[in-house]
Amino acid sequence: MMARTQNVRLSAALLLGVAVAACNPTPPTPGLALGKELFETCAPCHGDMGTGDVEIDAPAIAGLPQWYIEAQLRGFQAGMRGMHANDLPALRMRPMAMTLNRDGDIPSVAEYVAGLPATFPESTLHGNAGAGAERYAAVCVACHGPDGRGNELLWAPPIVQLNDWYLVQELQNFREGARGADPADIWGQQMRINTFALDDQAMADVIAYVQTLR
């Protein structure tokens, strides 16, 4: 009899504990540990080490700067990317960004991704790097830098370490207005202007040149 009452008491206490814990979740502390945990959502598409997956158009985000990742995740949430009917990859990414809905989620996961080693995936397109070099020196260098590593002051991301198919796809997105067309997207608009003069071949060429900067 004694043992039984004790058991009942113990289970009641346990239940109460669980109930209290469920009603009162301790807010997670932002930082690398939370970032690592959150990244489990991202890994099925971007890969365990953020190396990307061409099958689902997910780029190699490993080692992108934290400020840029944060800005893009907020951009996805605000509908600056992923709200265009034919931009299927971004339509997939936008809901993923929407899941980062607590204070500190975005900085934490961005910090974690920024800390992963950049992968510099192999080239897959066959642009003419020579033709692209001129274009790059005339236009892109001002913001993305002579080494393609970007410029935080101009909000321009590094582009050397990303997949070439992804970069061309984004240039097309800018040109078609799937990205950088939202009046609230100040930095995207600045980038967009540079794509109006580029046809698909010119895009492949300039990206082929970007790949030689590694």
């Binding site: 959502t41 099925p44 992923g82 709200m83 265009h84 009917a85 034919n86 299927l88 339509l91 997939r92 936008r94 809901p95 993923m96 929407m98 899941t99 078609e176 207005g177």
Partner: protein
């Protein structure tokens, strides 16, 4: 009764709720009758001092009656349910009223995109209006929709319309609806379609003629596919 919890906003929402209610009441009645009977019998024939709990094999005629009669009555209820179902199926799926407008609804991981016919009211013309996660329609007009999927199975569900139709890659499925009231409501995906299924939600904007015309005019040139 159901409309107290979820508004009925399409011409056939009431019929569907009626059918759900019919099934719930008939099945519910027999559920409670059968459970009540079961517990009453368990209690009545329980073990008592001087009497063991009894087991009835149910072969005697006067006992079997308790099975056959309710069975017959349940079958009669089934007939009512079948008739009700066929009538609603006929109203919603078998008839296709003449459309005032046709739209295309496309599901993809994980968003709904909508192709509105634009100012000329013709689908697949250059003035079509494309939107993501926002469907704009006019109240009291019959809409045909062509439902498609770009990748996996999805299901187009508008709870206030009581509509839920699967979208299959490779097929264009035609259906219809007519809204009875203006308002802004939820659209959801009702078929597991991958990691983002839970956030594959959109909104439907049911507008009066003036509002809708204004929306069409404001958006006719701003979007491209």
């Amino acid at each position: 009764m159901i409309e107290r919890y979820l508004a009925q906003m399409s011409t056939y929402a009431g019929s569907i709720d009626g059918l759900i209610l019919l099934v719930a009441v008939l099945v519910g009645f027999w559920f409670f009758a059968a459970e009540g009977m079961l517990f009453w019998l368990v209690w009545k024939f329980r073990e008592r001092p001087g009497q063991k709990s009894q087991y009835l094999t149910g072969t005697e005629h006067h006992i079997k009656r308790w099975i056959t009669w309710p069975h017959a009555l349940v079958l009669v209820c089934d007939v009512f349910i079948v008739i009700g179902s066929i009538r609603v199926w006929n109203e919603v799926k078998q008839t296709l009223p003449e459309p005032d407008s046709t739209i295309r609804i496309i599901g993809q991981q994980w968003a709904w995109t909508f192709q509105h016919p634009g100012p000329d009211n013709e689908l697949d013309t250059p003035d079509d209006i494309f939107t993501v996660d926002a469907l704009h329609i006019e109240v009291e007009k019959v809409y045909h929709f062509k439902l498609e999927s770009r990748d996996v199975l999805h299901s187009f569900s508008v709870p206030v319309f009581r509509i839920k139709q699967d979208a299959l890659p490779g097929r264009s499925i035609t259906g219809w609806f007519e809204a009875t009231m203006t308002g802004e409501h939820d659209i959801q995906c009702a078929e597991i379609c991958g990691i983002g299924h839970g956030v594959m939600a959109a909104r439907i904007f049911i507008e009066d003629a003036g509002q809708h015309a204004a929306w069409v005019a404001a958006n006719s040139n701003s979007t491209t596919p």
